[in-house]
């Protein structure tokens, strides 16, 4: 109980510091350089400390199972393993808002200590804008989502033992995702600050670029972890469902990736200042909007947190205030682009990046409209529709082919001006190779999807280009690694989607079923009583092509507290394919519904995303000459 009190008052202190910093930083801007108090930076550290302390108090309350704390009571249980007691801290609404605050204050502090070379007024104003966000979240936490609510009488046992949430990938997915998702707040604040201070120059671009890359790495990694969890834990064999909550993490990613490309133009040629700012504002706005969509109860999704209209209204108002404020600042302090001096030529790297942004914004609009249209339609006409995977497939896939082509030839062009002759004979040969290879694949595997076949051409063309560049030229290594990762990702996803096969049937012990070249044999069942669940393990022997034998053991877990049944897939991964099997009880427990899938190149989907991230990391640590 003491720790709940400590955590609570620590938050109050943090909030007061936030108000103090708001006024003090705004005030200090009026002072001349010599009079600005350096202590303002130390106070930011104290604020970070209050949040960290509060966070640890909550973690500790979870670890000791202090059920006098309502959040702990709702989300924990004495029999939970300690790793999941700790991760349960941020697996609920209140704890995750505290995590928001942690990342907000941490990133501000890191910004302060790493921006010493920047102008003081710029740093002060960044603190100001970030504190607006921070104080908003403190208010939100204290008024509607207090993680330190007192519960009396103190219950003996907690409620939170959902086994689906007890998984290592799911445990670290929120913190990593938030480092990217929430971290974009500092880009937002710093950009607004630079705009007001008329500080947008090449030096600032280099400085902010590090932040863009850092948040991008975490955001990509966070999304990857979420997909890995979905694939290994949920038993349907997929990794992306275009569920609204997934889309909500993808949208800032698309905007941030576009920003990552645009900032390089700003750094090299000081062009597109306004557009860069719009992207910076948009990325964090999308994060905030996402938070609103997920927590307000407005969406129909299994992922959403428990909804409370009061919370929804708060976030909605907060979100609109932030966007309105940033747009007002954007229009008032409008930047004048120096166009007469800096021309953009048709064939140039700048145009390539513009085209990249063009496509990224299109993909973003598809995801945004697909996710929010049902909401608006329902309010206006009372009609309910669903927007699912077919919509996204139809609107995104056709545009991927030109996107891949541009991605292959775009980076080749030089800054300022280049010539179309860069698309030389070698390029034509590469393209022909891509077509021939695709033709070979299509013919040998009886693929009927023309659209996907065209995509394979594009992805191969990109892949061959990057490979050739990596071997021949040594510059831009980190960029090439990322693009290589992306091309591999596209190829892996296409092949995975084209060549996956699945088979579903009901079987009992001793049954042997054949399909394609595969024999599935349910040999026997083991029933084991574990500490908090009964485990039914089905032992399968799978024989492929009369020679490869594989043993798979999917499991059904019957929990008593709470009364939940989960199905744990067994997955055998090899470098070329995954064998995936899932069983479900059919009424009466005599039969099992068995779903067996062969999924080629799954490991490559994860690996290629990692390569994509590594490229970003290499860019982040790169030191310029």
């Amino acid at each position: 109980m003491f720790f709940s009190q400590l955590g609570y008052y620590s938050l109050i202190l943090g909030f007061l510091l936030s108000l103090f910093l708001l006024f003090y930083s705004a005030n200090s801007l009026k002072l001349s350089f010599q009079n600005i108090n350096q202590k303002i930076f130390s106070i930011s550290f104290i604020q970070l400390f209050t949040v960290v302390l509060s966070f640890f108090c909550l973690i500790y309350s979870f670890v000791i199972s202090d059920f006098s704390n309502e959040t702990v009571y709702n989300n924990s249980h004495t029999t939970k393993p300690i790793f999941y007691k700790i991760s349960g801290t941020w697996g609920n609404h209140e704890g995750s808002i505290l995590l928001w605050l942690f990342v907000l204050t941490l990133f501000l502090f890191l910004f302060i200590i790493s921006s010493k070379k920047q102008s003081i007024k710029y740093r002060l104003l960044t603190i100001f804008f970030q504190q607006i966000i921070i104080s908003g979240f403190f208010l939100f936490l204290l008024l509607t989502s207090n993680p330190f609510k007192f519960l009396f009488p103190v219950p003996n046992e907690g409620l939170g033992l959902n086994p689906i949430l007890q998984d290592p990938a799911l445990a670290i997915h929120p913190p990593i995702l938030y480092l990217g998702y929430v971290g974009s707040s500092i880009i937002f604040s710093a950009s607004l600050s630079a705009l007001v201070q008329k500080n947008i120059n090449k030096n600032w671009a280099t400085h902010i670029k590090k932040w863009i890359f850092a948040t991008w790495i975490f955001l990509t990694l966070g999304i990857l972890l979420g997909s890995i969890w979905a694939y290994y834990e949920l038993g349907w064999g997929g990794f992306w469902f275009w569920d609204p909550v997934e889309n909500v993490s993808l949208m800032p990613w698309l905007s941030l990736t576009a920003l990552l490309h645009t900032i390089t133009i700003l750094e090299k040629r000081l062009l597109f200042k306004s557009w860069t700012l719009i992207l910076a504002i948009a990325t964090f706005s999308l994060s905030m909007s996402g938070t609103f969509l997920v927590r307000s109860g407005i969406l129909n999704s299994v992922h959403t947190f428990a909804n409370d209209p009061k919370r929804g209204i708060f976030i909605l108002i907060f979100l609109f205030v932030l966007i309105f404020l940033s747009l007002v600042i954007f229009f008032v302090y409008q930047v004048k682009e120096d166009f007469p001096k800096n021309k953009i030529f048709f064939i140039s790297k700048e145009t390539s990046i513009l085209i990249n942004n063009w496509f990224m914004m299109y993909f973003l609009s598809v995801v945004l409209i697909g996710t929010t249209y049902p909401i608006f339609l329902e309010v206006i006409t009372n009609d309910k529709i669903s927007v699912g995977p077919p919509f996204y497939y139809k609107l995104i896939v056709p545009f991927l082919f030109p996107f891949l082509i541009f991605m292959a030839i775009g980076p080749k062009f030089n800054w300022i001006k280049d010539s179309y002759k860069k698309i030389n004979n070698q390029q034509i040969i590469f393209f022909v190779i891509s077509i021939l290879t695709t033709f070979f694949i299509v013919v040998n595997s009886s693929i009927e999807d023309l659209l996907l076949s065209t995509l394979i051409v594009g992805a191969l063309y990109l892949f061959i280009n990057i490979l050739s560049d990596l071997i021949n030229k040594k510059n831009n290594f980190s960029q090439k690694i990322s693009h290589l990762g992306f091309s591999l990702l596209v190829i892996s996803i296409i092949f995975n989607s084209l060549f996956s096969s699945e088979f579903s049937t009901n079987m009992k012990v001793g049954d042997k079923v054949n399909f394609d070249n595969i024999e599935i044999n349910l040999k026997n069942i083991d029933t084991i009583d574990k500490k908090n669940y009964k485990s039914i393990i089905a032992n399968f022997e799978i024989v492929q092509n009369q020679k490869d034998k594989v043993l798979l053991n999917p499991e059904i877990r019957i929990y008593n507290q709470p009364n939940i049944l989960t199905s744990e897939a067994d997955i055998k991964s090899s470098i070329l394919e995954d064998k995936f099997i899932v069983i479900n009880l059919v009424k009466g427990q005599e039969y099992f519904n068995v779903r067996y899938q062969v999924k080629p190149f799954m490991i490559w989907i994860w690996l290629s995303t990692l390569i994509l991230i590594i490229g970003g990391f290499l860019s982040f640590i790169k030191k310029y000459q």
Binding site: I344, S386, F440, L576, E577
Partner: protein, 122 residues
């Protein structure tokens, strides 16, 4: 030439991969349709993935209707009449959903025009 080496490497690796690149011939239409339908009981899942009674009965019904000669679209239409448009993941292309499909494309065209003007108005 370097490029011929490429061609060779890729073709050789494809011979090796051929074994894994057999498109699934057992593709069932029932599966395709049930993947496109939402389960009313477990609303976050497709009929294909869901193990609820409703989903299992639905899969049977789809199979029966296909055997009776109904087309994929006829089945979607039939189910939409019973349960509303919500039940199908692929939104219809009608007046009500026109903006849904058209808006991103309109934005794409506007984006293209903006870039065109920026790059060629020099």
């Amino acid at each position: 030439m370097r490029d011929l080496k490429f061609l060779l490497v890729i073709i050789l690796s494809l011979f090796f991969l051929q074994h894994y690149l057999k498109a699934n011939e057992n593709f069932l239409l029932v599966d395709k349709i049930s993947k496109n339908l939402r389960c009313l009981i477990c609303q976050g899942q497709s009929i294909y993935d869901s193990q609820s009674d409703f989903a299992l009965s639905m899969k049977l019904l789809i199979k029966r209707k296909l055997e009776q000669g109904n087309s994929e679209d006829e089945i979607y239409q039939y189910l939409k009449n019973k349960y509303g448009e919500w039940i199908v993941y692929d939104p219809e292309l009608n007046k009500k959903n026109l903006l849904l499909w058209a808006f991103p494309l309109i934005l794409f065209i506007i984006g293209g025009i903006l870039i065109f003007r920026k790059v060629f108005n020099n």
